[in-house]
């Protein structure tokens, strides 16, 4: 057993920097995942084949390939013909894009769960397509999928350390940098425990939310 609390103390300032970066990645990633996922879900319900087919193909591809390789692709390939982005920005886009393909499925399930009568009522009231979605379907669909969406935020939190592989200094990135320069390993343990400490209460909270919102 080889453990030194002094090392933990020295790591703490760096650790909090890392927490901040992780939370930034998570917050912005969630925003992208939630909004882009909704776009995918609505596009997949279109009756135009030329919209649904490419969207289905792209989302299936993104969902079934590793986020890590996608991050490498975004970080090393995209700048060859597109904008050069910082590791954190790349990470946020990667996380958001990857998880948008999951949230699309969640929204889809929620939309399918809205009774057909609601669509018919909207037609009977001659609501426009936009009003049908924004005033009738989505409010009912989203309410019941909020806990499922929340579960994906926790999943995204656990995938967020992958952005350290392209050089972002999130919790794991800071932990690795600290361990490598000081030849210690306590920082990695601290980071590991921190993930459990954040993820466990979050999942408890979601379970409580699920009991309240879903019946």
């Amino acid at each position: 057993m080889n453990w030194d609390w002094q090392v933990v103390d020295d790591f703490m300032p760096k650790f909090w920097d890392g927490v901040l970066v992780t939370l930034q990645a998570l917050g912005w990633g969630t925003l992208i995942a939630f909004s882009l996922g909704l776009v995918w879900a609505i596009a997949l319900r279109s009756d135009q084949k030329w919209i649904t087919w490419p969207v289905a193909a792209v989302t299936e591809f993104i969902r079934n390939t590793p986020l890590l390789v996608q991050l490498f692709f975004l970080f090393y390939v995209v700048p060859e013909w597109g904008p050069t982005m910082s590791p954190l920005t790349t990470g946020i886009i990667g996380l958001g894009l990857h998880y948008s393909t999951y949230t699309a499925e969640v929204y889809r399930a929620g939309i399918e769960g809205v009774p057909v009568g609601q669509w018919e009522a909207a037609t009977a009231l001659s609501l426009s397509k936009r009003r049908t979605w924004t005033a009738v379907i989505l409010p009912q669909a989203i309410r019941r999928v909020i806990p499922a969406l929340g579960n994906y935020v926790v999943a995204m939190l656990k995938d967020s350390p992958m952005i350290s592989a392209i050089g972002a200094l999130d919790m794991l990135g800071e932990g690795r940098a600290f361990s490598d320069t000081t030849f210690t390993t306590e920082a990695l343990t601290v980071v590991g425990v921190a993930f459990i400490v954040i993820a466990y209460p979050a999942s408890l909270l979601l379970r409580a939310l699920e009991r309240r919102l879903v019946r």
Binding site: T185, L188, I196
Partner: protein
């Protein structure tokens, strides 16, 4: 794109390493799933508590952090040194096993209570009941969520490249460093992972059909080419929860 030497010395072995890591960690995850999943249905509270703690801890950690911890922190903390591949397989198997235990627990809980009662009436021991009545009936229910989890695991194997296991992602990174030309190799990598996921799904579909036939059930409806990669199931592979969908 890559020289023949690179292809035979790094890329092909890399693909083979990815396959190996997938198989080993899937086997470990399956064992952990069944062990923890059945223990979580135990009538003894202490057993339920211990297995539940395992579930919460390993579901709460990030697989990548766990991998770094196994590879670099465990040797100095506990004095056990793993070869890099073992550290990767352990981290993947233990975390995905925790997700899988929820699948096993859920499927066991879904077996009709009358089946268990019939077993009691026939004077079966607890182990006999589990082995001959409950698990065989729960098994077909488990396959679709296991399929999704297996694809998540396959995607997770790319993480071993970060602890210097020479899988195909590692080979891709090497090629980028050597040649500076990253577009073709990363595109190829993504396509190979996608093809692997597709093949795994086909295999799991066969398994599912066979399991359902053995149960005397009709096979599930046919699905489209692209929509068929993921199975619809009540248990969520990514979040490891009985999803609210």
């Amino acid at each position: 794109m890559m020289s023949e030497k690179f292809f035979t010395e790094w890329f092909l072995p890399g693909i083979w390493i990815t396959v190996q890591v997938t198989v080993y960690s899937a086997a470990l995850a399956l064992a952990v799933s069944f062990l923890i999943g059945t223990l979580r249905t135990s009538p003894l509270w202490i057993v339920r508590f211990a297995s539940g703690t395992y579930f919460e801890i390993f579901r709460g950690t990030s697989a990548l952090v766990m991998m770094f911890w196994m590879a670099y922190a465990v040797p100095s903390l506990l004095g056990i040194q793993f070869v890099p591949m073992a550290a990767g397989v352990l981290a993947l198997g233990l975390t995905y096993g925790a997700y899988g235990s929820e699948i096993v627990r859920g499927a066991l809980a879904a077996v009709a209570p009358a089946q268990r009662e019939a077993g009691i009436a026939l004077n079966f021991t607890k182990a006999q009941r589990l082995r001959k009545i409950e698990l065989p009936q729960a098994w077909p229910e488990m396959i679709p969520p296991f399929n999704n989890l297996l694809i998540e695991l396959l995607k997770g194997t790319a993480l071993v490249s970060t602890i210097a296991v020479a899988d195909m992602t590692f080979a891709g990174n090497l090629l980028r460093l050597a040649k500076g030309d990253s577009a073709p190799i990363y595109t190829l990598l993504l396509v190979i992972y996608f093809v692997f996921a597709f093949l795994l799904t086909r295999g799991m579909r066969l398994l599912e059909r066979q399991a359902n036939r053995r149960m005397g059930k009709t096979p599930p409806e046919k699905t489209g080419f692209l929509s068929g990669l993921r199975s619809k199931s009540a248990t969520d592979a990514v979040t490891g929860t009985g999803g609210a969908k």
